[in-house]
Structure formats: structure tokens, C-alpha cells
Symmetry: C2
Subunit: 325 residues, 2 copies
């Protein structure tokens, strides 16, 4: 498989690292781009050298990056790992369309195009006869999309509930365990690199909502966007509220709920010991299945190597489906 | 897909039920066999009628069953759901070889051939250019094999630990919660249909061991058998031992451990709140992954419809890989 990698931040670098040594799928990187520069080689770039160049110079390549470079090179799959943007999901949406125009598949961890413009994306992919795989965009290394689309392909999944943001889960876990205020634990999480300096995206529930939108679009082949989600974050929660919940045998979690009718993100009481009662930065999703009953997946929802592993798995799946292993 | 269904007990009937109404994959049943009889129709049998016939007469069809019937009909996939046998894994192994001779894939929940003769099975399948899918043989509806082979295809899985027998988990959960003896809870489980009248297979750890062997063979492409597993069951455990464990913050579970070097099944102390701390009849497996860290799957490890769902998912995967969806 020839791959074009757009986005060379933490996850893009994780992808380069993951394929640098004995990768489980034969991938040759013909393009690597960060926000400003690009490296191109039809014969295949050396991932290790790309990582060194990036570390030394801050740039991945010697050419100025413009999406038009995607028209120059031949590749089988676009690995889109640029930062998530909302609204028109640009420039990722343009990268997607250029891949489709070249007859290339897309593998992505970018939540923008598949949460804001899913219907358009899938329509264009269908017309081009290519696949779009989004495991990396929902819950990092935790297999969510593939569990629905492959492992549970013989079943009907009616809905899903889950904890899809490790930052919120960390904050709520610490607040409960130590009796600390939201502000105190947020500061701690920022110091540890678990929360961003502007934590809005996580703590207001937007990140969770985007993942719910993607999961809903995959589950019900829909075209929902962020506007279709009722969202409430965790910023108003107090240690007292968490303690009260515990006294009645519950923990408070930021839970995303996906059904055919409704998408909600809000703090919920979860009975202690239930499937969704996972602590720290862990993520979890429980699927409500017609035949299999409740199936739950737990894993690390973020992290560069973890998310890169989802990208590599998706590239491997495309290789498998377009020619057997 | 034309399917031949061999085995019409609880799971076989579950499979017929699962494909009877709006199945997620287009399956036509050309053969259905129980231990004594068979129904054959190259144009496709009606699953609902098969279920009615079986209920009314005790037989699935009007012909005497012999494996040679598999040579008569044309089918794309053998769904092998006959009871697990050990040692030479017959007659299931013969059913497998007949499928391979016809160029048909195999989907199975039968632990025999893939735990006792995995190397032979895979060699014959390779020669025939067909696939063998075994999701239903490990943990019922809980996606274990597919999680390894597909969702985590981009990662390296170093090993797995899990609770793979719902009967043992039920017994240990009840012993701890109610302070009851092993014998008392076993009787209760037998009355509820959770344990067999001869519970040896479950409580001595053999069922768990077989699942570990299959998982090991899939993970490491090996050829291990039951003889390679150190097995200890739960029959010697006392309520006192469980209580002592709890006093130190642990639960006792029958845990199967799979690594490249070793296969063990034994009662283990699991810290409360850890991934493997799931109660009742639930099953759980945690994978130790190079990139993704720990990924855990929880679900119902048994049940006829649950296991049937795994069989249908595997048939769907074969349909997908041999022609796209």
C-alpha cells in the first residue's frame, strides 16, 4: 500500500513510528506533510528520517505544503491526521476530496469531516468507489467502529453508551477520590499534560459529542452533526455532588448516549461496578445488541501511539479487503 | 452465500433463528443437519420451517445424516455447530475436511478441531485457499478473535488474560456475595441451567483451557493443544478463601492466561475494580498490546443466540472479504 500522510503532529509522528519497524501491513509512505511543509518520494520515504528531520528542524520536509501536492503523487490511501476543525471541517475536507478524486481510500483520526460533513463524505466516497475508515477518530486505540462494523456485523446494534473523553474521566475520578474541586483537578491535569491549556473542547463535552456523532453516523448510516447533540459538560460539578452520588452506590461520569432517535452528552449517575464504571483516563463503550446483549470495550481513548495503532489497523483492513492478506 | 449448517442444537437453532428475519448478510441454507438427520435443498431451506420441524419431531430433516451428504451439495461456507469433542475432534474434523475439499470456508463454534488439531486444520485450509473463522468458539458473542485479527491488526498483541467461562464466574460471584459453599452454589447453578448436570468440563477449567488454546493459536499462529495448558479448576475454593481475598481488596476469578511461552488456567487474585473484575456469568478478555496498551472486551460468553450472532458475523466477514459489501 502506498500511503500519503497529511498531518505530522503527535499522531502523525506516531503513525510514522508505528510503520517504521516491522509493520503488520506493508506500507510505503510517498508523502508526508505537516501544516507548513511536505516531503515527497514516489519510491517511498524513510519514516525514521522523517521523524529525525521533524525533530531537528521543526519541519517534516523541504517543500512548501499545499493540498495540491496530493494531485501530484500516486497513493492508495490517504492517512488524514491533521487537527480536527469544526464547521466546514477544512482543510481536511479538501484533503478527503482530493483523495477521492485520485481513487484513494481514506483512513482518518480527524473528527471534523466525519462529524460535520459525514453525508457528503460518504456520498463522494461511494461515487469514487473507495472506503473511509474512522476508527482513530473515536476512542483512539479502543476498537469502537470496527467492533460495530466487523465483530458485530452479524448482529443489530440498537445504540451505545460510553465514556469517550479521557480528560473528563480523569478529572471526575480525581475529584471523587481526593474530594478536590473541579478547578483544582483541572489545573493538575493541565500540569500533567492530560488537559489542554484551553480545556473547553474536552470539559464542555464537545469532544465527546463529536465522537457520538461519528458513532451514530456509522451505526445508523446517518448524517448527523454536532448541532444534533444535546451537550452538557462537567464544569458545574462539585466534589459534594460526587460524594452524594457515591453514598448511594454511584459514580458520576460524562456519558455520551447514541440511539437512532437521540444524541446526548451529560454527566450521568453510573452504578458502581457497572460496565461504564472505569476510572482514570480510560474510555469505555457499551453496545446494546439484539442478539449479543451488552458488549463492552475498554481502552485508552487517546495518545499518539494508541491512535496511530488504530490508523495502522484501518490501513491493514483496507489492504486486506482490496486483495487478501 | 450458500451455507451448510451442521449441528442443530441450541446454537445451530440460534443460527437458523438469526438468519430467518432480515439477516445482515444474505445467507441461503442449503443443508441443515443434527446428529441423526438432515434436510437438503439446493434452492434454500426455510429456517423457520426447520425450527418448527425440529421442535415437533425432534429431527431437523427427513434424511438420515451422514457426513457424505456434504459432498452432494454445493455451498460456500460450512457452519459447524456440532458439540465439541476432544482428542481427534471427530466428527467435526471430518466435516471441516469435507468443506475444504469442496473449496468452502468454515465458520465454527466447535472448540474441538481448532484446539486439538489447529495446525492440521489451518494447513488444509491454506491448501484449499479458504478461510476458517472461530469467533463463536471463544467467548460466544464477545468479540475476541475478531478484535485481535481485525480491530488490532495494526498492533502487536503480546498476550491476553481473561475470564472465559460464565459458569465458573457465576459460581465464584455467588460464593463471594452470599458466603455459600462451592457445592451449594453449583447445585443452584445446575437448577438455573447455568451449569451442566456433569459440570466437570466447566469447573475443572477445561472449557477455559480450550478457549486459551484457540486464542493462543490465533494470536501466535501456533499449534498448541489442551496438553500444553497448566489447568487448575475452582472445585477446591472455599467461601473463606474468597472472603480473605476480599479483605485485601481482591476478588478470586478463574483466569486464563495466554502468552507466547505459556498457557495457564487457575484461580487468581484480581484487584477489585480492575478490568477483569466482572461478575455474574459475564466473560472478559484483556489484551496486552504494544501500541494500544491494554484493550478489554466484556460480554456474554455463552448463550445460543449470542453465539449464533458470532457465527453470523463470521459469515458476514467471509462474504465481505470474498466480494465486498
Amino acid at each position: 500500500m502506498k500511503a500519503a500522510l497529511v498531518g505530522f503532529g503527535a499522531v502523525g509522528q506516531g503513525f510514522a513510528e508505528a510503520i517504521s519497524e516491522d509493520p503488520p501491513v506493508d506500507v510505503s509512505l510517498v508523502l508526508a506533510a505537516d501544516s507548513g511543509t511536505a516531503a515527497v518520494d514516489a519510491e517511498g520515504l524513510d519514516p525514521v528520517q522523517l521523524l529525525e528531520t521533524k525533530e531537528k528542524t521543526g519541519d517534516v520536509g523541504g517543500r512548501e505544503w499545499t493540498p495540491d501536492i496530493l494531485d501530484e503523487v500516486e497513493y492508495d490511501v490517504l492517512v488524514e491526521a491533521s487537527p480536527t476543525t469544526l464547521d466546514d471541517a477544512e482543510p481536511a475536507f479538501t484533503h478527503f476530496t482530493k483523495a477521492f478524486d485520485s481513487g484513494a481510500h481514506v483512513v482518518t483520526c480527524n473528527k471534523g469531516p466525519v462529524s460535520m460533513r459525514y453525508g457528503e463524505v460518504m456520498e463522494l466516497a461511494r461515487e469514487a468507489g473507495v472506503k473511509v475508515r474512522v476508527e482513530g477518530a473515536v476512542g483512539g486505540a479502543m476498537p469502537v467502529v470496527n467492533t460495530v462494523e466487523e465483530s458485530l456485523a452479524g448482529d443489530t446494534v440498537h445504540g451505545a453508551r460510553g465514556i469517550l473523553n479521557g480528560t473528563c474521566n480523569f478529572i471526575l475520578t480525581r475529584m471523587l477520590e481526593e474530594g478536590l474541586t473541579y478547578e483544582h483537578v483541572l489545573k493538575e491535569a493541565q500540569d500533567m499534560g492530560i488537559a489542554e491549556s484551553d480545556p473547553t473542547f474536552d470539559v464542555e463535552g464537545i469532544d465527546t459529542a463529536l465522537k457520538c456523532v461519528i458513532l451514530s453516523n456509522v451505526l445508523f448510516d446517518g448524517d448527523r452533526t454536532l448541532d444534533d447533540v444535546d451537550v452538557e459538560g462537567i464544569t458545574e460539578l462539585t466534589p459534594d455532588a460526587l460524594r452524594l452520588a457515591r453514598d448511594s452506590g454511584h459514580v458520576v461520569k460524562l456519558v455520551g448516549e447514541v440511539s437512532e432517535d437521540e444524541l446526548t452528552v451529560a454527566p450521568r449517575l453510573v452504578p458502581e461496578g457497572e460496565a461504564l464504571d472505569v476510572g482514570g483516563t480510560l474510555n469505555v463503550v457499551s453496545f446494546d445488541c439484539e442478539l449479543a446483549g451488552e458488549v463492552t470495550v475498554v481502552g485508552r481513548g487517546a495518545g499518539s501511539l494508541e491512535t496511530a495503532s488504530a490508523l495502522v489497523s484501518d490501513v491493514a483492513a483496507i489492504a486486506r479487503e482490496s486483495g487478501g492478506r
